[in-house]
C-alpha cells in the first residue's frame, strides 16, 4: 500500500512539474526595448560548455559504451576544437547596442543562472529565475544573457545503431530580462546543426566535421547578433 502511495505521489509530482514549466515562446526584440529610454543594458554570458560529443538515443549503459567506443577518435578530436570568437559575443552585442543609441555595458563575469534563486511569481514571459539582484550589483536596468548550452558534435543513435551521420551542434538561448519586473523582452532559442559536406569519417582530424563545427559557431554568432543589428530604434534612425 505504501509503495502504491509513493509511486502515485511521485507521478503526481512529475506531472505537476511538467505542467508548471511550459517552454518559453520566442519573443522578438523591439526597438523600444533597447532605445535610449530603455535604461542601462548589461550584456553577460553563461560559462561556455565543454566542446564534446553526445550520442542521443544510445539510452542503455551498454549502448552508450558502444557508441562512445565506436566514436572515440571523433570525441578525442572534438575536445580539441576551440571556442574561436564565441567569448567575444558579449562585447559584440554590447557594441551593436551602442550603435543603436543604447547605454550598454559588458558584464565581464560569467553568470551561473542555475545559481540564482527561483522567482516567486510565475507567469507568461516571466523569467523562472530571479535576476533582480543583478540590477543593483551591476547598476543596470536590463540584462542580455547569452547562454550557450551545447557545443560540439552529436550523433543520433537508436540503442546500438547510429541513425545518421554525426553533425556539428550549437544549442543556445539568448534573452533579455527587464530587471524591474523580471520579464523577458527578448527570447531566442537556437538549435543549429550542420553536417559535413561529403564524407565525415576522416580520422584523425575529421576536416569535414571540423568545418561544420566552425560553420555552426559562425551561424550561432550571426543569429544572436542579428536582432541587435536589425532592430531599428528611434535613436539609431536619427543618428
Amino acid at each position: 500500500m505504501n509503495t502504491r502511495v509513493s509511486v502515485g505521489a511521485l507521478c503526481a509530482i512529475l506531472l505537476t512539474g511538467c505542467a508548471s514549466t511550459p517552454p518559453q515562446n520566442p519573443i522578438d526584440l523591439t526597438g523600444s526595448s533597447i532605445d535610449a529610454k530603455a535604461g542601462r543594458v548589461g550584456v553577460v554570458m553563461t560559462p561556455l560548455p565543454k566542446v564534446d560529443t553526445q550520442f542521443p538515443g544510445a539510452g542503455c549503459l551498454l549502448c552508450l559504451a558502444t557508441a562512445s567506443l565506436a566514436n572515440s577518435a571523433l570525441t578525442a578530436h572534438t575536445q580539441t576544437l576551440p571556442y574561436e570568437d564565441l567569448p567575444k559575443l558579449r562585447s559584440e552585442v554590447a557594441e551593436a547596442l551602442r550603435k543603436k543609441g543604447t547605454d550598454a555595458i559588458v558584464v565581464a563575469d560569467d553568470i551561473k543562472v542555475d545559481g540564482l534563486s527561483e522567482y516567486g511569481k510565475p507567469g507568461p514571459n516571466i523569467a523562472r529565475k530571479d535576476f533582480s539582484p543583478l540590477k543593483q550589483k551591476y547598476k543596470i536596468d536590463k540584462l542580455v544573457v547569452i547562454q550557450i548550452d551545447v557545443l560540439g558534435i552529436w550523433r543520433n543513435y537508436s540503442a546500438y545503431v547510429a541513425t545518421g551521420d554525426p553533425k556539428a551542434v550549437l544549442k543556445a538561448t539568448g534573452y533579455m530580462v527587464n530587471l524591474n519586473n523580471n520579464t523577458y523582452e527578448w527570447y531566442l532559442p537556437l538549435n543549429i546543426t550542420k553536417s559535413a559536406e561529403g564524407p565525415w569519417d576522416e580520422a584523425p582530424k575529421f576536416p569535414g566535421l571540423t568545418n561544420a563545427y566552425f560553420q555552426a559557431l559562425e551561424l550561432g554568432r550571426d543569429k544572436i547578433l542579428e536582432p541587435f543589428k536589425k532592430t531599428s530604434t528611434a535613436d539609431a534612425s536619427t543618428r
Partner: protein, 293 residues
C-alpha cells in the same frame, strides 16, 4: 556518373595534395585528357543538414546472445538502408532544379565542355584535347573529372573538379587535388538566363569554371609551399545563400578568393563585396565570363 569516373574522382578527392612544387616549363604543351564518360555530370545542389533518422530507443528480442546480436545487426542494416534512401531522395529532389535544362544537358559532352574550357584557360603554352585511351606522350597531361551543381535558386553553378597532372611519358601524377569553384551569383537569375540560345550561358559558365579550376591547380602545383597562413572562417556567396568555409588564404585577386580547405582541397569563391575590395569592373574573371557576355 560512371563507375570508373567515380573511382577516379574518389581517389583524387581522398588524396592529399603533394606539397613539393612541380617543375613545369613555362612553354610546356598541355594535353587535357577526356574522361571515359562522355556526358558531363550536372546535379542539383543539396544540403544534408536535416538528413538522419533521428534518435530513439529500441527493444531487441533476445532469446539468446546470438539472437540478440542478429537483432542488432538487422536493425543496423535497416537503418543504414533508410539513411541511404533518405540521402538519395534528397538528391533526387534537388536534381529537379535541372529539369528545364534536360534537353541542353543531354547533348552536352565532355569534348565540347573541355574544348570551350581550353580556349578560356590563362595557362601559357599550347593546349589540346586527347582521348581517354591515348597513351602518355611527350606533353604534360591533365586528367580532369568535373562535376557541376546548380543552386536551388538557379543563381549560381558550383564545379567540383578532380584534377591530376602528369609529366611527359609518366603514368603517375606529379600533382593531384580537388578544386571547387563557385560562380559569381547571378542576381535574379531566371530559368531562361541559362537556357537562352541553346544553353549558351550555361555552357560558357561551365567552361569558364572548368578553365579557372585548371589554372588554379597548375599554379598551385608549381608554387613552392609558402608559410601557412592562419586558418579562418571565410564567408562567400553561393548563389543568394551565404556560405562559410574554414580554410587558409592562398590568394585574393579581383573579385575572387582562392583558399585551401581543411581537406587540402582548393576553392575559388566570390569575394565578399566591400568598399576597399580590389575587385573592380576592369577585372576580367575567367570564372565569370558568361555573365560578362
Amino acid at each position: 556518373m560512371g563507375a570508373v569516373t567515380l573511382t577516379f574522382f574518389s581517389s583524387v578527392m581522398a588524396a592529399s595534395s603533394d606539397s613539393v612544387p612541380v617543375s613545369i616549363p613555362r612553354d610546356a604543351t598541355w594535353s587535357l585528357r577526356l574522361p571515359k564518360d562522355d556526358k558531363v555530370t550536372y546535379r542539383g545542389l543539396v544540403s544534408f543538414d536535416d538528413a538522419g533518422v533521428g534518435a530513439g530507443g529500441m527493444v531487441y528480442p533476445a532469446p539468446s546472445a546470438l539472437g540478440f546480436l542478429a537483432a542488432v545487426f538487422t536493425h543496423g542494416a535497416i537503418v543504414e538502408s533508410q539513411k541511404q534512401s533518405q540521402k538519395n531522395k534528397l538528391q533526387e529532389q534537388a536534381d529537379k532544379v535541372l529539369a528545364p535544362y534536360d534537353s541542353i544537358l543531354k547533348d552536352f559532352s565532355h569534348k565540347e565542355l573541355m574544348h570551350r574550357a581550353l580556349e578560356k584557360t590563362t595557362t601559357a603554352g599550347n593546349k589540346k584535347l586527347v582521348d581517354s585511351t591515348d597513351k602518355a606522350g611527350t606533353d604534360w597531361s591533365i586528367a580532369s573529372i568535373p562535376i557541376f551543381s546548380m543552386t536551388q535558386d538557379r543563381s549560381a553553378i558550383v564545379l567540383e573538379n578532380a584534377i591530376a597532372l602528369y609529366p611527359p611519358n609518366v603514368t603517375v601524377p606529379a600533382y593531384q587535388n580537388a578544386v571547387k569553384v563557385v560562380s559569381q551569383p547571378k542576381g535574379g537569375a531566371e530559368t531562361d538566363f541559362w537556357s537562352a540560345n541553346g544553353g549558351s550561358k550555361l555552357k560558357e559558365e561551365s567552361a569558364g569554371l572548368l578553365a579557372h579550376s585548371l589554372d588554379i591547380a597548375i599554379v598551385e602545383a608549381t608554387n613552392a609551399p609558402g608559410k601557412d597562413s592562419a586558418q579562418k572562417t571565410f564567408r562567400y556567396l553561393e548563389g543568394s545563400a551565404e556560405k562559410m568555409e574554414r580554410a587558409q588564404l592562398i590568394s585574393e585577386h579581383c573579385n575572387r578568393v582562392v583558399i585551401k580547405t581543411l581537406r587540402g582541397w582548393l576553392m575559388s569563391v566570390p569575394a565578399r563585396p566591400s568598399s576597399d575590395s580590389p575587385g573592380t569592373a576592369s577585372c576580367v574573371d575567367s570564372a565569370t565570363s558568361a555573365s560578362a557576355k
